[in-house]
Symmetry: C2
Subunit: 189 residues, 2 copies
DNA sequence: CCTACCGATCGGTAGG
DNA sequence: CCTACCGATCGGTAGG
């Protein structure tokens, strides 16, 4: 199931999944964007679900590999969290289509990919909550429920969707700095 | 287009729109949940889009009437924002189905409802940004881009979705207090 | 509120 | 990579 045109198909798919939603982005629309007939898509991939799986798996892998590279560094917990928050912000800026789809359309994943994805996500959030807890114990982070803190900043970052849709009076750099000031500042003692 | 069973139909619709998504929540599924045949739905309403419109319009009206009641009180800007943030948190806790649908499925609204909804939302966010700006000028809120601050806390509150899906080890009250501590605390000087 | 049905569109396949 | 097509499902309507 490899093909030189697969990356191109995935790119168009991610864009259509984000703008139309997974269900409204029909294989016929994807094929039209690529410039071939819908039946021809199936010589490059085996199903629509496989496209979604590829996108979600790619994003989840990015997040997991990033946290692993940060987790065992010698930074303080809050600095680690800041690095991770910045990485998520940049994903929403630079890999908008795929980051958005992995966040909003994963529920259409066919099994067993759905269960795998949710498991990975649960583990990932647990690691983040442990970092928050660690920061609280070290007196670096204010007393706050770690899980609530994690879902709060992860969801907050999804708000970049509205910056993407806007006329972007704020630059990407300003956006990142302002959001970090809010989300990291809000964790500090 | 009034009917004694309409509230019941709207309740089931909101629930299915949230869990299945607007498109996957077919009129046949809604009818089955209500306990009638799908054709019979059309004696209570004229289209699927009308259901979505009713839900989105209800939520937008709640938010707008709430901000208007807070806007001209004599509280400080930060206190006003805290009241609004708490109202949004409670909507996600107590009116989860409808709040979620208005936030995630509005893009399927038929025109002219789509344009109306987006206009109302733009005005609402502008009012919130003005409150943030006011707080900055009064030295009560840290220097931060007001629009970025608004999309950050509004999106953060959507993270309550994950609390709703969880086993809820945290009570609704604790959730609200922790989220307020993070989101209001992160705005303070 | 139901039976019966419409045209449109879907994901996917056969066969070349 | 295309032509031609499949069964399933969709939102909605006619007529009672």
């Amino acid at each position: 199931m490899d093909s030189p045109r697969k990356p191109e198909i995935l790119r168009h798919s991610a864009h259509l999944f984000r703008t139309n939603g997974y269900i409204d982005a029909s294989m016929r629309k994807i094929a039209a964007a690529v410039g071939i007939d819908s039946a021809s898509l199936y010589s490059h991939l085996k199903s629509k679900g496989e496209i979604l799986q590829t996108i979600c798996h790619w994003a989840a892998g990015k997040y997991l590999s990033n946290i692993e590279s940060v987790e065992h560094s010698d930074q303080t917990p809050l600095k680690k969290l800041e690095a991770i928050i910045r990485m998520h912000i940049r994903m929403m800026i630079e890999e908008y289509d795929r980051a958005f789809v992995a966040e909003h359309e994963w529920n259409h994943l066919p099994e067993p990919h759905l269960s795998n994805f949710l498991n990975q996500r649960r583990i990932y959030r647990r690691k983040l909550a442990d970092l928050v807890q660690d920061g609280i114990l070290k007196g670096e982070i204010k007393k706050i429920d770690p899980y609530v803190a994690v879902i709060t900043f992860l969801s907050a970052i999804q708000g970049i969707e509205f910056w993407q849709r806007s006329q972007k009076n704020t630059s990407a750099e300003e956006l990142e700095e302002n959001m970090v000031r809010y989300l990291v500042g809000g964790l500090k003692m």
